[in-house]
Symmetry: C2
Subunit: 155 residues, 2 copies
Amino acid sequence: MDPIVNPAIDGVHLTPLAEIETPEGAVLHFVRGMEAIGSFGEVYFSEVHPGVVKAWKLHKRQKQNFCVPVGRIFLVLYDDRHDSPTRGTISQLSLGRPDAYCRLTIPHGIWYGFKGSAPATSLICNVTDIPHDPAEAVKMPIHGSSIPFNWDQSS
Amino acid sequence: MDPIVNPAIDGVHLTPLAEIETPEGAVLHFVRGMEAIGSFGEVYFSEVHPGVVKAWKLHKRQKQNFCVPVGRIFLVLYDDRHDSPTRGTISQLSLGRPDAYCRLTIPHGIWYGFKGSAPATSLICNVTDIPHDPAEAVKMPIHGSSIPFNWDQSS
């Protein structure tokens, strides 16, 4: 797959990751070395049931590094940063195996949300650059926010 | 569950982790902050198909931090370190949700192996303290090794 978020959002990166298939089960790369993430804060998982949306969220200071080792996730990103060259951009992408097994890096200041698009529960793993701090996270409701995207019409 | 590897092996630790259930899907803690792991090397996944064994492996320098967010894994550890107070000990344990969602820390110098014990493919996530280096990993075959454990008679 093309490892580019389309349309691009300044600071958002998609990095293809190795999937090493073996008869016993695959080995899946995610993050190797601190240089890939800048600094280390936390590793956690977020399950997403089929058809369920988790949105909208924005981190004021924390950077996200997502991958989807199980299932499939449809993601939407929205750039509302006042000083961004890509302000106003909505990006939609899908993460999952085998064709979209990538690390998605989302800088702070970007709105994001996602939907489980596999028939069973999907799993996101997130490696952040600072530990969880509820004071730096902002949420908006799925419906009726100022973000120009309608989850009801999404795949 | 009792967060103790039984019988104990010197330096092996089991840390219970939070599982935060929500209607959209659980949030699962794994590693928060560098102090939990000492230093950061790599995050990767290892799938294990049902009934399949991946064994034996020993790292000469690298520390492992395992958790099992999907499925169930039966693990066997063997301490053959010459200077260890628990030398000769075989420990058996199971990791998985919801009752055994823990971080298993395996110091370098311990032989380990595991088997997929769920009906579907299980997933291990591993956070290591140094990046992958094939020169510091040692393997022995599943059968016929000097380790006093028979995988054919395991659950």
